[in-house]
């Protein structure tokens, strides 16, 4: 059970309290539902994934727990630095109120707002007029997820192999030592060179540990891609609901017209049966028309508000998406730069070791 201690960062009194991973999950769910147009920062992975052989896949492993802790901290920092999310009261109390927070969240009734249809990841909704931008964005997020996870998988394999290369060099250390024992002039040189080989072999551990940080940065955006996709899906659903409502309205209007004029334009079982079993009385018809007219009015109002909602959604979603894009470009650029810097430092260390070994050899 990974727990995290948070401290109040913004206000004066520095408090800290304990939270479980499941509470983080609850917080995030709440935020996702309450702010559907926002790309909500992701949580770190629940289970260790993309591990290379030295890393443990065990959830209780201290390294994993530490990485998770950093990930959770990062999550909170992201939320805190978001212009909209940071103002949320539930978030605030997550940071400040130890007891009763869970109940408070549940009291908001956010679960009712949660659309269960969103849980069905693969369900498709045939939207007649999809918003091109959102379609493209969803496509992009799918591709991004695919490419980053591929990258992380290969990177893990690369790390594995590199580890092997470095470690075998350690064998040089041992054999040079043994060999130096039988040599006279060459002995010292061999011995000290062997020592450098040992250093070289050992250096890979730190190098790869550092690289894990880069992997974590990529992972964050892998999960961010999921969040991005979620926004697109919500829009899709909205659009779908809108279209369904419009469709419903249109069919009701049609029904109304038919009843009023007595013409049957569309085939309906009711129409057929009434034809077969007798017409309705004018009073009945009037009543029906009235009901329909009420429904139509309701429907029109609903449609209006849905349209408004939709437009608002699109506007604010797109604003956050732009914000997200900039954040992503900035963060990833930095991540790539620091990765390159890491590689350079690794090479420099390599040069150092081999230069030292070379010197030892030259003294043989």
């Amino acid at each position: 059970r990974a727990v995290e201690s948070q401290s109040e960062g913004q206000c004066a009194p520095v408090e800290s309290l304990w939270r479980r991973y499941s509470e983080f999950e609850l917080l995030r769910n709440y935020l996702s539902v309450t702010y559907p147009h926002i790309v909500v920062p992701p949580l770190p992975e629940k289970r260790a994934d993309f591990v290379w052989h030295k890393l443990s896949a065990d959830n209780m492993d201290p390294d994993f727990v530490e990485r998770r802790r950093i990930g959770l901290e990062n999550f909170l920092l992201r939320v805190a630095s978001h212009p909209v999310l940071c103002q949320d009261k539930i978030f605030y109390s997550f940071l400040t109120q130890e007891g009763g927070w869970k109940e408070m969240v549940n009291e908001t009734g956010f679960q009712l707002k949660a659309d269960s249809r969103l849980k069905a990841l693969n369900a498709t909704f045939r939207v007649k007029n999809p918003d091109k931008r959102f379609t493209e964005l969803k496509h992009y997020s799918d591709e991004l997820q695919s490419v980053i996870s591929h990258l992380l998988r290969v990177r893990a394999r690369v790390a594995d192999r590199l580890y092997g290369v470095y470690k075998v060099h350690g064998n040089y250390g041992r054999v040079f030592s043994e060999w130096s024992a039988i040599e006279k002039e060459m002995g010292d040189g061999l011995q000290s060179a062997g020592h450098h080989m040992d250093v070289y072999a050992a250096s890979i551990d730190d190098i790869l540990e550092e690289e894990e940080h880069y992997a974590e940065q990529l992972k964050e955006y892998l999960f961010y891609a999921e969040a991005l996709r979620a926004v697109c899906r919500k829009h899709e659903l909205m659009q779908y609901d809108l279209e369904m409502a419009a469709q419903d309205l249109t069919s009701k209007k049609q029904q109304c017209e038919e009843l009023a004029t007595g013409t049957v334009r569309t085939f309906s079982l009711k129409g057929m049966t009434s034809k077969l079993f007798g017409q309705e009385t004018p009073e009945q018809r009037e009543a029906k028309i009235k009901v329909l007219e009420e429904q139509i009015q309701e429907g029109e109002e609903q449609l209006k508000s849905k349209n408004l909602e939709g437009r608002d959604f699109v506007k604010s979603a797109w604003a956050d998406i732009e914000r997200f894009k900039e954040q992503k470009n900035h963060d990833l650029k930095e991540a790539l730069i620091s990765y390159a810097v890491m590689q350079i430092s690794m090479c420099k260390k390599g040069i150092q070791v081999w230069t030292n070994a070379k010197e030892c050899f030259s003294k043989m």
């Binding site: 290369v165 006279k184 390599g350």
Partner: protein
Amino acid sequence: AASTPKPLPSSGPKSLREMPHPLATSSSEEMGPALTPSPDLLLPRSIADKDLSLPNGTPVDTSSPASSSSLLNRLQLDDDLDVETRDLFVTVDDPKKHVCTMETYITYRVTTKTTRAEFDLPEYSVRRRYQDFDWLRNKLEESQPTHLIPPLPEKFVVKGVVDRFSEEFVETRRKALDKFLKRITDHPVLSFNEHFNVFLTAKDLNAYKKQGMALLSKVGESVKYVTGGYKLRSRPLEFAAIGDYLDTFSLKLGTIDRIAQRIIKEQLEYLVELREYGPVYSTWGGLEVELSEPLEGVSACIGNCCTALEELSEDMTEDFLPVLREYILYAESMKNVLKKRDQVQAEYEAKLEAVALKKEDRPKVPTDVEKCQDRVECFNADLKADMERWQNNKRQDFRQLLMGMADKNIQYYEKVCVT
């Protein structure tokens, strides 16, 4: 009085100093007791004595072994010869493939430049195939049994695994053959060997080979050391030490060979993964707008790293491993010479015993044998010291090569990393 050979500036083996010069009028000198020199001793070198004239036409080593050693004294050639004092240069290059009805094989051009009197012309250029080198080596072993003959690259290659006609294989072999001849060239005694001379100069080597077969009883060439039958009483400590050293040495080199091969294997597997890694960044770059440039950059970097790594592995395979294997072969042949030495000593001891029983004043045969033994021991010490020095230099050379390669690789990384 016979002209005495130039005194050795160091405390060399006494028996050599006292040995009569073959060119001088012989006055039988008393043979001092055989002294076994310490293998640690580096016999000092001085520049060749310029007014020394070699026996006409007859290369030293076909006469009795006695003359070889004194010649060694006289010549005192420095191993680290300056170009100016060297008078023999040999190169192996220009491999060519020959396709005949019966077989396909490669010949190499052997070029010789020299000012030595043993050679009729100052320059020679002949074509030789591996068989010829092998023949030469056998002849040298036969005619110079007390010397360490440099090793040849391996004769047999596992067909199917290695392509005998691939550029890399031919080049590796050429380098090894070149080194083989250069080592002989640098050797103060071997370089004057008649067979070596013919090898470098004869247009038709095969005719000479056939001729050689017929004259098996040539003096000196057929100095055969009886194999087997004699049991060695006590091996002098330093030879036991050399034997042990060579055993451990071969063992360690073998281990290093295996380690190096393992590293190359791991590197190649690493390379496989890297080759998949790079393009993923490229794919990603295709998705992005602002990030596409840096992502493409990373992809390109990784591509360059792959190339550099490939070069490193190739260099290791072509330059590092063959040298290791060569030294292992060298150690093997050295051990054989040691065995022969043991045989000689054993024979000497047995003969000595036999003579003691006969109660003769001056045992003649054992003297020869003893002389021989001295020489063997001297040469061994000599050559062992040589080998050490060569070894140091060679090691330094190819270690520097390894380092250089690692450097190159690493510098590639540096140049190529993008920010």
